[in-house]
Every structure is written in C-alpha cells, then in structure tokens.
Symmetry: C3
Subunit: 253 residues, 3 copies
C-alpha cells in the first residue's frame, strides 16, 4: 500500500479493503488501482479468509471514479491511457476472480467507477439515501465492455441500460427495489449489515463458495477481452469533449 490510500486488514476469516482519500472523494489514482489489485490477489491463496468487504472512510462517498487531475495530465498519451484502463480493469477482474465472497459496503455515493466496483462484487449493501449511478455519458466517457458486463450481471440488462444511456442516478432504496443491491439500510447500519453477511459467510465451506462462484460466473453475463473493444474508451478519455464537459461543470469564477 505505497501511498496509504488503500489499506487491507484481515480479522479472522474476514478481510476488509478500505479506500482512504476522503479529501478527493475517494477518487482513484493509478497507483491505488495497483495497490488494491495486489491486496486482493494476495488473498487468493488464503483459504481461511472467506469474505472480503470493500469499504471507505467517512460516509459521504463510497468510491469516486478516476482522479481527474491525473487523467488530465496523461490524456494526450495513448499508452498512458491504456495503462490506466488496464490498471482499473485489473482490480475489477481481481474482485471478480477472488475466491472470497466480496461485499460492497456503500455507506455513501457510488457514481461511475464506484458503482462498477460494487457491481464486480458478489453482494451489495447500500445506504438508503446513497446516490448510485454511472453517469459516464455526461462526460463523454465510454465504460469498458467488461465493466458493462458486470453492471448487467448486477443490475440486469434493462436497468443497466437505463443507468448508462440516460445517466439515471438512483437512491440506495430505489436500487434495492430494482434488484441492484441486496440490502438498503440506514447509513449508520451499512457497515454492520455488511459485517453480518460476512459473518454468515465465515460459517460456510471454502470449497463450496469457491466452486459455486466459478459456476456462477460461467453462466452469467461476462466479457473478458478488454483490449478488442478498448478504442472507444480511449477516444473518450483522450478527446477534447471530456475537457469541455468538465469545464462546463465547474462554476465560472
């Protein structure tokens, strides 16, 4: 955990990966994707760790998207953009492949990468009032095909289309009613609810969990080939449109 923004703790059979960059809305630097991937992959051989909770400090934001300053600095360098997308995808794929049961504890909002992360988990818990969505199209961003497959897996094709193609933002309560989160609870109950689910998981057979998770992935929407369809995402991140749409967002001074 080179910069301290991502920490992993293990307590018995439950691991907890915590984002800690609250001053930037838990936005992801490229180094954070790598650190988080290494942390999750480091658990792969730990048969006695059965549950992995994704969490973040504070309760305003569960997770932000890519750090925009970093993105802006590299956006004219295609190789750097490829590396950034690969880093983010690496973490999503690590979550998906983890032998643990992965649980997103969305105490606060999850917009963009935040909700895609949660969709890569097996179970999602959200605050009733948390704002959840993937409004990438408001910025000219094109979510990758593997990430869209995960959102379809978590939300179903119809709700995934509504989130992506109309930039719809749901409350946690609405997301529960529409099947995207397993439980929507009061903000102060999110971490306890995630811990209760993790506690139930610790009583389960590691073999059963690992093998049935593999079966589930094999029969659910999934896309593993990041690179073939990456061009549109790179065009989006590298375009002037992103810069213009970001500028249009800021209040004029």
């Amino acid at each position: 955990m080179s910069d301290g923004h991502v920490t992993l703790t293990v307590d018995g059979a439950v691991a907890r990966l915590v984002l800690d960059r609250p001053e930037r809305g838990h936005a992801w630097l490229r180094s954070m994707w790598s650190d988080a991937t290494a942390a999750v992959e480091g658990l792969a051989g730990s048969e006695d760790v059965l549950a992995l909770i994704l969490d973040s400090t504070g309760d305003r934001v569960f997770s932000g998207g890519a750090d925009l300053d970093e993105l802006r600095a590299i956006r004219s360098d295609r190789d750097e953009l490829v590396a950034l997308i690969e880093a983010a995808e690496g973490f999503m794929a690590a979550l998906e492949a983890a032998p643990q049961v992965t649980i997103a504890a969305m105490t606060g909002s999850a917009l963009g990468a935040g909700l895609l992360l949660a969709a890569a988990c097996d179970v999602r818990v959200a605050s009733e009032s948390a704002k959840l969505g993937v409004p990438a199209a408001t910025l000219g961003i094109v979510i990758s095909r593997p990430d869209i497959a995960r959102l379809v897996r978590a939300a179903g094709p119809a709700l995934a289309a509504e989130l992506l193609l109309t930039a719809r933002v749901l409350t946690g309560r609405e997301a529960h009613e529409r099947g995207l989160v397993a439980a929507a609870v009061a903000p102060e109950r999110v971490r306890d609810t995630a811990a209760e689910i993790a506690g139930r998981v610790t009583a389960l057979s590691p073999r059963s969990v690992r093998e049935m998770k593999r079966h589930l992935l094999a029969v659910s929407p999934r896309w593993e080939d990041l690179h073939t369809h990456m061009a549109a995402s790179l065009d989006g991140l590298g375009s002037d449109e992103l810069e213009e749409r970001l500028a249009a967002r800021r209040p004029s001074t």
Copy 2:
C-alpha cells in the same frame, strides 16, 4: 410515410415516431413496418438526434399487433408470411441498432407486438393502468426467437416465461414492480415522463451513448438469426388454428 399511419418528427435532439391508426387499435400493416423502419434507419446518420420516443395517438392503446385482416388475406401464402415477419423484425432490429436512446411511451395497452416493440427499446415508461403482455399463445402464434430474446433482455427470463407461457397480462404498475418498465405513472404523465428522460439524454455525449449501447447489446440476451428458427412462427400464422382461435374470440351474432 406512405399511408400516414406512422409519422416521424424531429425537434432538436429528440425524434418522435408516432403510430396513428387509432380506429384499428394501432394495428400494424406491413407497409407500416416498412415506413417505421425507414424512419428509424434514416436517423442513423443524425449524430445530433440523441433520443427517439415511440408514441401513438390517443391513450387507449400504445400499439396493437399485426393487422388481422391483412394477415388473414396472406396466410396461405408462405412467401408473403415470410415477408411480413421480415418486415416486423426489420423494425425491431432497427430500433435495437439505433444509435439513439429509444424510449417507449406506453400511454395505453401494449399487447403482443406492442410490448415486443417496447422491449426492443432501451427504456420503457408506462401508464400505471396500461395492460401489458404477449398473449400470443392464446391465438396459436409463435413469437420469433429474436423478439423473445428482446423480451428476456427487458423482463428477465422468469417474467418473460410467465408472459409468454401463461399469457399473463400485467398492469403498468405491476410491470414496474417486476422490472419490465423503468417508470409507471398516471396516464396523463406518460408523455411528459418520456420527454423528461429524453431531455436528460440530450445532455449526454453521442459517442458515449452509441458505444455503450453497443457494449450493452454484446453482453445481453440477443438472437440475430431470424430465419433458422422461423418455421414454427410460419406454421402458427399459416395454420387453421389461428383462424379457429380468432373465430372463437368473436361474440357470436
């Protein structure tokens, strides 16, 4: 729009395709499928049109199915039946492939082709009291595999099976509770709600919408080969069973 039953208007970034054959419950003539397909395909190059609303005049029926008089006239001619199915499928496929975000505004009932049309759209809005279903099996009709894939995409496999295999008809409110429509509102609010969603879409990046819609289709249930599995549909439309079941429906005089 050769016969005036299908009209397309474009207002800024929002197009509106309106069915207008209220005296026949907005039933589809073969020429209407062709006209509607041409209209939607004509928008394919219009990068500045971002949303396409499907609507119809009045508020009793959103869309009927195939015009039964026309169907009866051709039902012993297999080539004509193939052409009719191809025409209908052409419109469904055009909606599915449209670079615009497609929104069905179901002010009134959508039974049979009407709901399949809506399922080919990205977003569905319905009147709370609208009757929605695909009771094709009451007439001996076999919905095509591509259309069934679209219904599975919109409703999920379990609800699609219930609609098709038990001829269940839902109210718009029930369809919302079960995930088939994005919003169920009072009848007089359907068009406004569709327009609000379209308005949100107009603020989005055309590239993002177009590319993410492609990704969504690639990872969702879909069937593109109409002809291989068309035989059962042709048998259904060409059989005496259809005629007998239609006759059994009519009140005796």
Copy 3:
C-alpha cells in the same frame, strides 16, 4: 412409481406430480429421481396435457434435498455418487425440456434441491412465509453448474449469487419482491393459485407453448454439460467435510 413417494395424476389438460415422503421432509431417494423423471418424460408425447404442477403432500415442506442417510451410505463410492447426481440432474433436465408449462406450488419450504427444482420450472408460486434458499455451502456441497444456470435463469445472477454464496434464506414474500417467484400468497392459497395459472394455460395453443419455451431456453442462461464440471460436486459429497458439518448440526445428546 415403484415406492409410492412420487405420484403423477392427470386431470384433463393438467398433470400433477406430487411428492409424498412427509416423514422425511420430502427428501429425495435416488429411486424417486428416477420415478419422477420417468413420469415427466412419459408426458412428453401427450400434446393434450398442457400444464404440469409440482406439488407435495402437507404444507410444511415443498421439497427436501437428497436423502442424507442414502447419501451417507454411498459417499465413499464415486460411481454411486455420479449415478446419484445424474439421477437428480435427469429430473431437472426433464422438467426443463417438458413441452408442458411447469408450475412449482411451494406450499412449504424449499431449501436446496427443493428450490433448484422450482427454478427448473417455468413458473413459481410460493407461500408468503415459506423459507426458500440454497444453503448448500453450509454443508460443503457444491451445486452443479446446470442447476446453478437454472437458478440464475429464475432469480437473476445477483440474487443467485446471494443465495449460493451467503446461504441467504428468503421468505416467499421476499422472493416475490426480488423476482424469484411469480406470486406469493397465503399458504392455503398456493395450490389454488397454481391451479388458476394451469387453468389459464389449458386455453393456450400447445404449439405456441412448446415452441416459445424452446426459444426461451435458447436465449436464457443454461448449461447442459453436467460431467465436465462435476468433479467439485463429487469432491464435496465425498468429503469428510460434509460428514463433519452434518454432525455439527445435530444437537449433542
């Protein structure tokens, strides 16, 4: 029906398959899987039987899982375990392929094989208070990939993951809210509700039902190759873990 634990009756266009082993919670002996498969396959040519209701005697349990005494007796014999899994899968596959509309009438609890059976049906009705789940991982059991595909088809990938990976048990009412059952009603209304649906089905075209069911399966999650991924299931059933977990369940005496 060699041992009388599975009986099939046909009344007009509606068949009813009834489990009757209440003293063992309707747990399945290998002979019962074979009997039930033969009964369902025997209906395949009966064009005039349009609906098949799955039911059981009493109202406490809809269906149990494998009979644990029988399982224990064969668990060190790999060939016997293969034969047992094949027998269970044979029945699930027969239900899936039946030309009839299959309706599970879950008057009581359906845990493990009971819910997987229901997932292999086209329509599920449950008592509001019935306990539904697949807590296989509490015993070290690994559900087969074909059965997991059926659960994904009935429940969607997200809820299927929650059921399998956290051993979550839902009430019938919750299962309805989350899309897994078509109707949740008072216990004494379950059989009538299933009969009403079957009654609606009897008015439908056999061709439409048979062909559209085929189309539905072709575009929905499904896995037909039982054997390639059977090893983990065999390991689970043959392991000491199962015996230990069963022992841990029993109150000490």
